[in-house]
Symmetry: D4
Subunit: 218 residues, 8 copies
């Protein structure tokens, strides 16, 4: 087949390859799940459709699918979850992206706290959660529209903040570009940005950082 499964990846990165399911043909997807399952005993897939979930569950009855995050995974039992990553959202519409981040981080063995719907237009909601957020080793801030959440959190914590712009919004939000620009221009320190709706990427990097903080080899 054309695709080259990156079997060296776990060696290089400490994390096995994750499947980006969107757009993959059925037969192709199944073969990839099989190969990774063979090698790792577990598989994480993102952006899976319901149909793809049914397909994989046909072969792997223990496969779990979450329609909110669109994560389709086969996961080893009793994995420990260490450290603490806080995943925050501005609104409820940002939750699917946040869940992609949170569940990715959990799959990689990290403990995640969810603090959702604490956008800056009602700042008391965020302030009420400030201690939980400050106790994390890494924060993921997920927001669409004007994306101001990342800056406010950045000013409240002393740990790295990974900002995820979402495509939530309309008009001049330009499908997330406005939120991305907001976050890139943040006046707060300790913020870096991933692509629009890239919950996976934020969860991955948060995992790398959290692991550093729990003093374990990645």
């Amino acid at each position: 087949g054309y695709a080259k499964l990156d079997t060296h990846r776990k060696l290089r990165s400490g994390f096995a390859e994750v499947v980006f399911c969107s757009g993959k043909a059925d037969e192709h997807l199944l073969r990839i799940y099989e190969r990774i399952y063979m090698a790792e005993g577990e598989v994480l897939g993102t952006r899976a459709s319901k149909e793809q979930a049914a397909l994989i569950q046909g072969t792997f009855c223990e496969a779990e699918y979450d329609p909110l995050s669109k994560i389709l995974k086969i996961e080893k039992k009793d994995k420990a979850r260490v450290g603490k990553i806080a995943v925050c959202t501005a609104g409820t519409a940002d939750i699917p992206v946040a869940e992609e981040a949170a569940q990715t981080a959990e799959f990689f063995g990290n403990h995640v706290e969810r603090i959702y719907d604490v956008g800056v237009s009602g700042i008391h909601r965020l302030l009420a959660k400030v201690e939980t957020i400050q106790s994390a080793l890494c924060v993921v801030a997920v927001a669409g529209m004007e994306g101001a959440l990342a800056s406010v959190i950045g000013g409240l914590v002393d740990k790295p903040v990974i900002a995820v712009p979402t495509s939530i919004g309309y008009g001049a939000s330009m499908k997330g570009l406005s939120a991305l620009l907001t976050m890139i221009n943040s006046c707060a320190n300790g913020i870096a940005v991933v692509n629009i709706d890239n919950g996976y990427g934020a969860g991955y990097m948060a995992s790398q950082i959290n692991r550093l903080g729990v003093h374990e080899a990645l």
Copy 2:
């Protein structure tokens, strides 16, 4: 001469014409100041250079120039200042634009409270001032870089917020376009936006709103 002074403006709008000094030839500028002074007994000019200030002060010794706001004005004495407009900035670099807004509003007879350098990356600074801001009839929020200040203020007050993006920032701030987009996409209610660095426009509209609130004919 080519230019048509808009002598009907005060009738239509309640405010005399304001001079946009930038780029005007000396002779032209002087004639405009003279004509407005004749009609109104006072003149407000914005974006004046030091050289233009010297020119006008040569003829009108009572003319005052503020190099920070670049406002060059001849103002009647003992004008009352009514109501309350809060003018807030995120950083110190936004102050020149804020002063253009504040001094415009003051010239038009409004009382202005300045709350500067209260950007969202250190939210405690803003929260410390929240009562002053809430006591205003209208708020002007001036911010560059990611421009998140407007959203946070919008969520804290029950009066209209006029957001002014500034060209402060670098890189992806794109000379204020990022801040403009942030403010236009604000998730808070009661926010509307003027052009980048348009302190004058914000001060003007705040004056209209504040006057409504003090129950006086404009």
Copy 3:
């Protein structure tokens, strides 16, 4: 549940929370309507689909749905409507956005005058209505394509103008971005701009301003 209803909002802002229906799951939407109805005795929802209207009307038979503005509301009877807000559109295609603004303002207790299809390409239509517009305490100017309406109205009235760009147009209108830029760059005084198609936001801010003008506590 994830979502945090902002029950402090009325205290902070004088207006109860408004439901942005678009994209909300049925069960979630129903619970929100129930909770707000419990607290306020009335509910305003925007961007509701026909299906959502049927859902809410299943539980609240007094709920009203307007397919033009997509507003889905349960409203107390005999509310007074005070002051005067003028809502103007350039074309007939802009009316849905204008109605979102007008009905929001009416729900919040404001009197609204509608002046529709008075775009600048036939300026006599606008001039014929100038006295009605000038008699308002606040004007909402709704326009797509080149969005020039706001500037012309801004020059004719002495009250604040809230400009709403719409996504009406094609080609280089870029789904409303052109109209937004036109309005932000307006050479007229006393204009501020909200997001593309954001009738709700304009209606909300117009309500704040109109209330100031009728000398009532918000």
Copy 4:
């Protein structure tokens, strides 16, 4: 030399080649003026600097330079000017571009009416001139900032309107791009647009149209 003077142009287009002076080396510029003068007995140059004017006037003492329009020309005496082109501007800052248009059209033998500083924020100024504008065979509408002038004029006349966006403005005017978009999206009929600050191009096309209207071969 490298450059190829387009000596066939007058045959093809009815107009001799016009010199775009900006950026041309002295020696090169002088040779071009000489060659065109030889062939035509007159020369039109645009975007000339003061230094270039002095250079050409050193050789051609009858050369005239207008620092406002930056037009540097040697013109035959007693040329008739036929028909009528109206050149309108929104503000005084747009006049240099308008003069480039007007003087180009005059050089090509057209009669020009100037109607300056009639921008839409004070629409009475434009309405006061409506008969003059309507009597022209072609209208050039020059405006920066939000560029709304073209649409209003387009709705008032039954002749073609050539819209010229200018780079006047700041912030989101993006050096004329906003005005260009406004004009391209005009809801009025009979408007077409040339490049930002391209007074020359507008004057040229207006000349072509006006000549058609006076029933003369170009």
Copy 5:
């Protein structure tokens, strides 16, 4: 009803109102056709769907619909067509827009020559038609992708060229924005540009120009 039919338009512009059918509700559309038919004895509509055509043909059996141009018209018989407008396209995919231009101009009483599929990548096709194009009083140049056709034609004729960018293309054509920019930046003289896919606007303006050339009152 909300919409204001612009009954003064024919007086002001010499052309009766044209119906932009796209998006209009059935009942609304029918009423507009009826009213214009009453006043003018004929109606021109653009951007009509098949369903709208069937609707109008239900009432007006003489209504004609062209699915290519999407023009839906009721036209008086035996109207003269005067002068000459050349309508050119770069490719066959641009023909629908060109037909909107051509049929608009024909409805307004102008003679149209169609020169299609003469894009610059095979310049001999254009050169073979050069005399026809040069014999027109006005040229409409319709092109998508890189839109270079307008410049080449601009250099070959001595009459005004109206350039129409189309949304034909993919990738970096950005739905016509690239072609629009090409045409606005044309190095040829005598070119002005209308909105992307705006065949109607080009046909309208070409009609104004052609009429000037045939020495008739518009």
Copy 6:
């Protein structure tokens, strides 16, 4: 004075306030250095001009200025530097931004390895350094033009990569926007991006991450 020194910052973030010197007035700058020096016994300033360096060195003779990074600091002696941060650049022109990152991280007590001029157009240069890079706890990848360096590094290491686009390049690099887009769209895992030329921001976040890895309280 207007500016509010953020004296709580060290408590909140573990890092004292850093001075952004660019654009600050002399008197203002001096006062800030004095106040921070008083509180911390050391000061870090970025984007300082030569003139500002001379000014500060007039008062603080131990102040050091590096014209390459434009960092102007007064630093305590014998501070330990722990952990390992790798700072990489694509070209030599990216070094000033890289130095801003590296020296910021060093000031905050981190050990930094510099790997410069290893851009992807000569990949052997990067591969020769791969072990050094892999031994770091955090990598900063600095690149202009097409900014591909971050992706290649991201694929080679198992630690977080902070990508810094620079404004190096010309034409379509759009002063760093192209590199920013490249980095945000990276197909590699574990990359997040800061603003164009924001070496300081990258150095700050790298410090937070590195400190987590060396098991010390920040």
Copy 7:
């Protein structure tokens, strides 16, 4: 018919006309295939739908359709394939565009090597293939997302590289614009870029170059 088949093309360019099937009407498409088949004995069509394939196969039973590349062709038997073109992709999702390039080049008589899924986030995959790539006379590099592949290949080979950005990606990839900018700004030498997803254009130009290298007249 409207369309002008470019029968001179083979003379001018050495390649017969290729059919861009997308959007063509059935009857029109069939006629074009017939005419080219008549003239050439073979036909190459790109961007054909399944339905169009069925249509053409109804008349030409030897027509072959590849749903991956969407190429629909009738090809002479036993054509020689000379030289060597390497076609590389970053990911598996880029393969359809790569196949359009590869099959176009093969149809024109060139030998093609496919090296797929060798994106820079796992650089060892590319390095493992470096000798094959270096042995080609021309390289086509196909990549979406951040498009960094072209730069790395550009640094590894001494032959021309044609870079094809694809629309693969999401968020800030802006449907391929980001990859296009990456490739245009490449710091490597010997790279030029075609439109987003333009596999055909790359295959065509690679054919021209490869033919030069095999010392044959085109």
Copy 8:
């Protein structure tokens, strides 16, 4: 020193490293010229200032500087120039970029024909040169403003065309972005594009192609 001279480059690419002089410090530049001269016996530098030319000529008296192309080189005598590359420009203002391309190609041992000022607004100028252009093995098309030249040439030749957009133009030319888009969207076959003003890149790639055509190892 920081910079890593890429001494393997000639092995990998057949061309020695070329110096991008712009922005390099004097001492640094001199050392680079010395090192390359030592290794190659000749040096090619681009984008050199007059001051840099004087510096290098101080050490290497045989160094030649062309202020038009800004190329500063030390070249071996009596190098053969093989094959044929045609370098074309639209206007005279594009010549500096064209010369950078032409002189780069000449330095690398290729024969270059210059065909300047043959822009499409006077197509006869280009047609008069068509045979020279067709006789080349590779064509470089250099154009600013609307950049249409590349498409017309692409349709006239059967060899690869490398298109170079230039920053010549004003207003909506956006410093070359418009020309770049024109060229990327070209409807002609066999065109690929390099960065704005990147004459060097075009000359380099043309050299690679021309060498293939003359049957010599690069």
